[in-house]
């Protein structure tokens, strides 16, 4: 049995320990926000946060997520109550077909939450692991920047473990 924390709640998984985190989230926990776009860590559609850092859930066996915090797009907000970042995407056209959107949102959230700079170049670098074929990225970057504006700057940038 593998214990992990998903979107703030303790969850248990009984099953093959090598099952991918992506499949556990989607099939066992019915959190289908994270998508499989390529299965090779290239498109970022399966991005979730593992202890706050963006990772490709298609490249992680669930045994490596044991005892750790996982956050998915489902933790950000609901259609009735969108988070600031989600509302900004809605207003500025950050989502079109929507398939890359959950991954894009959690990657953007991790960037802003870890004290990443809210400028065009930094946001583009932070999102470079999330492919989008619809938007040409401009409305996505605008959405992230607008959401960051006015957002409180974290007191301290996250430090590496050393």
């Amino acid at each position: 049995m593998i214990k992990l924390r998903v979107n703030g709640k303790p969850r248990m998984f009984r099953g093959a320990p090598f099952k991918r985190l992506l499949d556990v989230l989607r099939e066992d926990f019915r959190l289908t926000g994270a998508k499989e776009g390529c299965g090779e860590g290239e498109c970022g559609a399966c991005t979730v946060l593992l202890d706050g850092e963006p990772v490709n859930a298609c490249l992680i066996p669930v045994c490596q997520a044991a005892g750790r915090r996982v956050e998915t797009v489902e933790a950000l907000g609901t259609p009735e109550k969108l988070s600031k970042l989600q509302a900004s995407f809605l207003e500025r056209g950050g989502a079109q077909c929507g398939i890359c959107t959950p991954g894009m949102l959690v990657a953007a959230r991790a960037h802003l939450a870890s004290g990443g700079r809210p400028d065009d170049a930094s946001v583009r670098e932070a999102l470079a692991g999330n492919l989008c074929r619809c938007t040409g990225y401009q409305h996505i970057v605008e959405s992230v920047l607008a959401a960051a504006k006015g957002a409180k700057k974290p007191a301290k940038a996250k430090r590496p473990r050393a």
Partner: protein, 284 residues
């Protein structure tokens, strides 16, 4: 997704000795660190039925100052290294290289040791490691040994790791004197999240107007990362001008042998590498 999770056996050793034993016992067992390579093959259905030795619990995610230099634990991720103040200050080419590996998601998972063990010809961190003359610390059933990076790779996807032997850390020896200039440059298939067509790391020290030390390393131009021994030899002691740079670049072909593949051509790899080399040597 074509992998079958139920067909896999997972071992999670707590100590290096346990891990070594598990790997030595089953020659087909897979060592798993960050998973960014293993899982790609697994997703394609190529690794069903194998035993996986998950190394992520081993205490190897530390950066340590030693007498000889900086010791990087094999389980340090690329994100750890690109952010680490000591790595950035003293071995900036490695930090820069780590920032070009995949994108954030891959950098957060992929590890230094996993990357080395995977031994891709296009490994982005290898040219800096080769230029810094890194030493790979291995531990296995017969004990510890230290292998210079130059000897660690034996071919495409091949290393001299023996069965059950693991990479524990990488030692970056402190340079005797500061470098006059250094450059890391990756030419990928696109601006980010790309595999290298050619990847370069160069270190140069000029004293009294002449080249006192020079280290030039390329990835993606041969089965393994290559130092340009002929060009380095030619440059040592020489005054660096445009002509010397061009003549050194002419020697490139003696140490590399790029190929045509779906990502680029031999001709391009040589031409672009030559251009980068000349630019570095001229200090443009």
């Amino acid at each position: 997704m074509r992998g079958d999770a139920r067909s896999m056996r997972v071992l999670a050793p707590r100590t290096p000795a346990e891990a070594s034993r598990a790997l030595a016992a089953d020659p087909r067992a897979l060592a798993l660190a960050g998973g960014t390579d293993v899982m790609v093959s697994w997703n394609m259905g190529l690794l069903n039925g194998r035993t996986v030795v998950d190394l992520s619990r081993l205490p190897w995610r530390r950066v340590r100052e030693t007498k000889a230099g900086l010791e990087l634990g094999a389980l340090c991720t690329h994100a750890d290294l690109r952010r680490h103040p000591d790595v950035r200050a003293r071995f900036p080419l490695l930090a820069e290289a780590c920032a070009t590996v995949g994108a954030a998601q891959i950098q957060n998972r992929g590890t230094l040791g996993g990357n080395l063990a995977n031994a891709s010809p296009a490994g982005d961190t290898f040219p800096p490691l080769a230029a810094y003359e890194a030493i790979v610390r291995c531990v296995g059933p017969t004990g510890r040994r230290e292998v210079p990076l130059a000897a660690f790779f034996t071919g495409v996807k091949r290393t001299l790791l023996a069965p059950g032997e693991l990479i524990e850390s990488v030692l970056l020896p402190a340079p005797p004197r500061p470098w006059t200039r250094s450059l890391f440059r990756k030419v990928g298939t696109r601006a980010a999240q790309a595999i290298s067509k050619t990847v370069f790391a160069g270190l140069l020290r000029v004293e009294k107007g002449a080249v006192a030390d020079v280290r030039l390393a390329f990835g993606s131009l041969a089965p393994t990362v290559r130092r340009l021994k002929a060009a380095e030899e030619f440059l040592r002691g020489r005054r660096l001008d445009a002509e010397a740079a061009a003549r050194a670049a002419d020697l490139l072909g003696l140490d590399v042998s790029p190929i045509d593949d779906v990502r680029s051509t031999r001709e391009y790899r040589l031409a672009a590498s030559r251009g980068l080399l000349i630019r570095f040597l001229k200090g443009d």
